[in-house]
Each structure stands twice: as structure tokens, then as C-alpha cells.
């Protein structure tokens, strides 16, 4: 137990310090994860911070609502910094709702955002247990085991440390599984979140058995019952996210060629339409070669939307086969017979073999964003929730991209 941490002449309450540290470390890690995955880091960071402030205000207002007499006597106490006059559950509710409203307003996609927030949730979870240990709260039942700790006139199970240790194991797994927070490690959004949620439920269910202060429903501990329900929910979520019923996924593909490009693109569309259900196509656009400047032949680009039941890796394999069948020489970046790039795969956000989905190129290059805007004017980025119009406004790439209008007797620019 260490309720007070002394730093020089300062005596700091460990409970609050630990929670604040885990809060800020957690949001920093979530921001890093977000930057790697291509979700909307700024909005996520903002909603966490505004959520915290709203939560603190909400906690004070909740206390006011329960004890109105206090504030009638002394209005000043409404804004005083006293840490004890807080209604925690009301504060959490207000904080979460605020963050949710911001996320909704900014069109943050639910599942990718929850995936990105996993390190945040896990650190808060661990922080609460460490803070409880510091304060001697949530203490264990008496035990004779050699690792029992002296607390409140008995040798007890260090139950807060059991939970902290297990949370540490889950965190280590998260870091390892996500390759240092670079990928979710799953091809479907929301699976990572559901796994971490289930893990926290199992830890709570397991460690609550050793807790002395229980809220009993009959003989069953309320917290354990809730954890069991959360575990069932998370297993259900993993199942529906990882093995969806609706197998058909809509995929947007960017096509490009600079060797007899019009014929090549026509052929490509033909071949693809044979293998997939073609939903939409954009017009063609002429683009200076982004990589090589003016030296190489100009590119013609186009985006198409198809429907497939293939898993992402199989889809990529099939598209590579189409590229090769139409004369693509792998490695040659100057003369490109046909380039097919998957821009989005349903609404999923993931990284596989170094390739990010949705393709970050659509946020950088006009030759991708422009045809995309024409084909689907109401497109929203599955990772960061930005509309295609906002994306186009933010693109700084000044390469000339011209729409090609096909007319009967040839090609007119």
C-alpha cells in the first residue's frame, strides 16, 4: 500500500496520479496505434481529452444533483478543486457519452476506432487495479499462501496485483500481436477490440473470486456475473465480426497503366467483370507519372468497385494474376502495363504484409481521389471517417490530373 507518493516536499495522492498517468499513456499509445492504422488520430485524441474533462465536470454535477444542499450553502464549492466531491459513475457516463457524441459527429467508424483504443482501455483497466493497490481498496480475502500481503489487520490475497499481472500479460500479448501497435493482426475490424474486451472480462471474473468486498446477488458476486455477461458478449462479437454471415464484400480498386493504357484498362475491366461482379466504374483520368515526373509516359487511371466473396489475400492473388496476364512485369516502375491496387475492402481497416487497407494513397494522390469522388460522391474513408470531398480538399499533391471525355471518334482531353 502506498496511498501517498512523496516527491521532494510534495505529497501526491497515488490513486489520482496512477489513474492520470495510465489515462495519458493510454491515449498516447492509442494515438500511435491510430497513426499506424490510418484512423483519425486528431479526432480520437480530442474525444478522449474532451471526454475526460466532461467526465470530471459530470462527476461534480452528479455529486451536486445528489447533494443539492451542499451547493446552496456555498456556491463556490461547485467549482472547487476538491477531489472528494465527485460522483464517479455519473462522471464515467457523461465522459463516455461526450466522447461518443464527438465520434458520431466526426463520423469516426465504430470498429476501427474501438480497435485503436484497445491499449487505452487496457491501461485504464490496469491503472485502476494498481491505484486500488496503492489505496488498499478492492482488497482480498485472508489467505495462508506465502505471497499473501499484510493489509487491514490480516494476511490477504494481493488480488489487485493478480489483476495487474494478468492485465500486464494481456497487454504484452496486445503489443506482440499488433507488432508494436502497427497492425490489428486481424483482417476484420472490431475483432481485436472484442478479444481484449473478453480478456478483461476473464481477468475480472477470475480475480473477483479473491476479493473480500463483494456485492452479492444470492451467493453470486455481481461483478463476476457482469464479467461473465461481458465475456459472452465479446465471444458473440468476435464470432459476428470474424465470421460474418454476409460474405459479399464491396471492394474499390484503383487501376493504372502507361503502356497503351486505354486498351489495357478496357481489357482489365473486361477480365475483372468476368471474375467479379462489377458494380461501378469511374471515368478515366490522365496523370503525370507521380514517381518519375515528366520522364515516363503519362498514366491513365480509373477506379472501379466490385463485389467479391474472396478473403483479402485471395483477392490480391487473383488481381496479381490479372496484372501478369495483361503483361505486367513485376519490379518495373517505369513502364507499367497494368497496376491494380485494392483501395478499400468493405469497411475493414487492417494491415497485412506491410500493405494498409484502406490504401493511404487515396489521402495523398489526386489520381486516386479524383476518380473515386466521381464514382462515389458520398464515399467516406472507412478508417478516419473523412468524406471524399474533405479528402480532396486536403490533398497537397499538385500533379495534373485531367478527366478524359470519350467521344465517338476518338479521345478528347
Amino acid at each position: 500500500m502506498f496511498p501517498i507518493i512523496n516527491i521532494g516536499p510534495l505529497a501526491i495522492q497515488a490513486f489520482g496520479l496512477i489513474l492520470l498517468l495510465s489515462f495519458f499513456t493510454g491515449s498516447w499509445l492509442a494515438a500511435r496505434f491510430s497513426a499506424g492504422l490510418g484512423t483519425n488520430t486528431d479526432v480520437i485524441e480530442n474525444s478522449i481529452l474532451v471526454g475526460l474533462i466532461a467526465g470530471l465536470l459530470g462527476a461534480r454535477i452528479g455529486f451536486l444533483l445528489k447533494n443539492p444542499a451542499v451547493f446552496v450553502n456555498n456556491l463556490f464549492s461547485l467549482v472547487s478543486l476538491t477531489p472528494s466531491m465527485l460522483d464517479v459513475s455519473f462522471g464515467i457516463l457523461v465522459g463516455l457519452l461526450t466522447a461518443l457524441i464527438i465520434a458520431q459527429k466526426k463520423y469516426l467508424p465504430l470498429w476501427p476506432t474501438l480497435d485503436v483504443l484497445t491499449p487505452f482501455f487496457l491501461l485504464i483497466f490496469a491503472g485502476v487495479h494498481l491505484a486500488n493497490y496503492a489505496n488498499g481498496d478492492g482488497f482480498g480475502i485472508p489467505t495462508l499462501l506465502p505471497w499473501g500481503i499484510q493489509l487491514w489487520n490480516a494476511t490477504r490475497h494481493p488480488v489487485q496485483l493478480y489483476a495487474l499481472l494478468l492485465a500486464g500479460v494481456l497487454f504484452a500479448w496486445l503489443i506482440w500481436h499488433t507488432r508494436l501497435l502497427k497492425t490489428t493482426g486481424f483482417n476484420r475490424s472490431g475483432v481485436l477490440f472484442s478479444v481484449i474486451l473478453g480478456g478483461m472480462a476473464i481477468i475480472t471474473l477470475f480475480t473477483r473470486a479473491f476479493t473480500a468486498e463483494k456485492i452479492l446477488l444470492g451467493a453470486i458476486d455481481f461483478n463476476q456475473a457482469v464479467s461473465f455477461a461481458v465475456l459472452l458478449a465479446s465471444l458473440g462479437l468476435i464470432y459476428t465480426r470474424a465470421f460474418p454471415n454476409r460474405k459479399k464484400v464491396s471492394v474499390i480498386i484503383s487501376m493504372g497503366s502507361n503502356v497503351d493504357p486505354h486498351t489495357q484498362l478496357s481489357k482489365a475491366v473486361e477480365v475483372i467483370a468476368e471474375e467479379f461482379r462489377l458494380r461501378r466504374t469511374s471515368s478515366r483520368y490522365q496523370t503525370q507519372d507521380v514517381l518519375e515526373g515528366h520522364q515516363a509516359q503519362d498514366f491513365i487511371n480509373q477506379v472501379i468497385e466490385v463485389e467479391t466473396e474472396l478473403a483479402y489475400p485471395d483477392l490480391v492473388k487473383q488481381l496479381k494474376a490479372v496484372e501478369v496476364s495483361l503483361g505486367r512485369q513485376p519490379g518495373n516502375k517505369i513502364t507499367v502495363a497494368l497496376d491494380l491496387d485494392v483501395l478499400t475492402y468493405g469497411s475493414e481497416v487492417f494491415t497485412i504484409q506491410g500493405k494498409h487497407i484502406p490504401d493511404p494513397g487515396m489521402l495523398k494522390y489526386r489520381y486516386i481521389a479524383l476518380p473515386l469522388a466521381e464514382m462515389s460522391p458520398d464515399f467516406r474513408h472507412p478508417g478516419n471517417g473523412m468524406s471524399i470531398r474533405d479528402i480532396l480538399e486536403k490533398i497537397t499533391d499538385d500533379t495534373q490530373v485531367l478527366k478524359i471525355n470519350e467521344v465517338e471518334n476518338g479521345i478528347e482531353i
Binding site: M1, P3, I4, A11, Q13, F63, K66, N67, A69, V70, F71, N73, N74, S77, S80, L81, T82, P83, S84, M85, G136, D137, F139, I141, P142, W152, N153, A154, G198, I202, L205, F206, R208, A209, F210, A212, E213, K214, L216, A219, I220, D221, Q224, A225, F228, L231, L232, L235, I238, Y239, A242, F243
Partner: protein
């Protein structure tokens, strides 16, 4: 991971968790001993003590059984304590007719006796000042920083431990209203 493997793992986890949930009351019964233990923590009986006022009168915590008591650890060099004490006085004035008592335990081992007595007398506080001359009560209450406030309910159990400036008038009023309302129910 394929679907079948996931379903097997999910069912195993569900069965194991349910078994643990149902076996917990038998395997790890809540200790009855805790109900009669004393400790300076919410839910336990407040550790008992007997201390003297600067005038030599003895006061025991047990004397106040049946009424709410605030045990307030303080020192005369502690500015947070000194800024909290006038607030305590006004709450004391308001709630003492209903039996509320404040025992302001001076941590005399970490203070200068004369300054402490002067500080308390000069401000005209009407609640009880006690001297912890050998630090035994401070130890029994595991006090780590001043002020530490321990609110004890009429049943002798600790309801709140507040370290630092959290012991405000507003907080105390709110908790006392609740405690007294519970008692009269």
C-alpha cells in the same frame, strides 16, 4: 483461425468461466472475520484510542459510539490543515446538535506542542483537540500525510478516509446528511 476452432475455444471458455463463477462462493467464502476487524479503512471498525486534550481531559473514541465522529489528523505547520479547519468549525456548529463530534488529533510527534495549542486556541475552534504524544494513534490509523480525515459512522465503522484537501465543508455536509438520514430510518 477457422470457425470450428473458434467455436471450440469459445465453448471451453464459457464452460470454464461459468464453473468458476458458480464455484466461487464455495471455494472462496467471504471472510466473516473481516466483519469484526478494526482497520482505518472504509467498512471496518475504526481503531479505538484514548487521548488527552492539552488540558489533560481524556477522550476515547468509544465515548462517541452511536454518533458520527470525524477524526481529523492535523499539524500546525500544515497549511492545508489550517485552511480546512474553519470549514470544519462551521460544519461542527451546524451538526453538533445532532450528535456530531470532531476529534482534531494533533500529530504532536511531528509538531511543536506550543504552536499547535496556540494555533487551535487563537482561532477559537470549539471542537475537541487531542494530542497524539507518542504517535501511536497516528500509526494505528496508518496516517501518511496531514490532513487525514477519517469519518466514523454511528455504528463505529469507518465510512470515509480522505487524505488532503478533499475534506471540504461541502463534502462533510453531504456525507453527514446521508449518515444521519440513514440512522433515523
Amino acid at each position: 483461425m477457422n470457425k470450428t476452432r473458434f467455436i471450440i475455444i469459445a465453448i471451453t471458455l464459457t464452460v470454464l468461466s461459468l464453473a468458476w463463477l458458480l464455484l466461487t462462493p464455495t471455494l472462496f467464502p467471504v471472510a466473516d472475520a473481516d466483519a469484526s476487524r478494526s482497520a482505518p479503512h472504509r467498512g471496518f471498525y475504526a481503531p479505538s484510542f484514548t487521548l488527552e486534550t492539552p488540558q489533560g481531559d481524556q477522550h476515547a473514541l468509544e465515548d462517541y459510539q452511536g454518533q458520527p465522529v470525524l477524526v481529523f489528523f492535523w499539524a500546525s505547520w500544515c497549511s492545508v490543515c489550517k485552511s480546512a479547519m474553519p470549514g470544519l468549525e462551521s460544519v461542527y456548529q451546524e451538526f453538533s446538535p445532532q450528535g456530531f463530534t470532531i476529534l482534531a488529533v494533533n500529530t504532536t510527534t511531528q509538531d511543536i506542542l506550543s504552536s499547535a495549542v496556540n494555533e487551535f486556541a487563537s482561532k477559537g475552534y470549539t471542537y475537541t483537540m487531542l494530542l497524539d504524544q507518542d504517535g501511536s494513534v497516528t500509526n494505528a490509523y496508518r496516517m501518511r500525510a496531514v490532513p487525514t480525515s477519517v469519518l466514523v459512522g454511528p455504528d463505529g465503522r469507518v465510512t470515509d478516509v480522505v487524505i488532503g484537501s478533499g475534506i471540504s465543508e461541502g463534502f462533510l455536509r453531504a456525507r453527514l446528511s446521508q449518515l444521519l438520514a440513514q440512522e433515523s430510518e
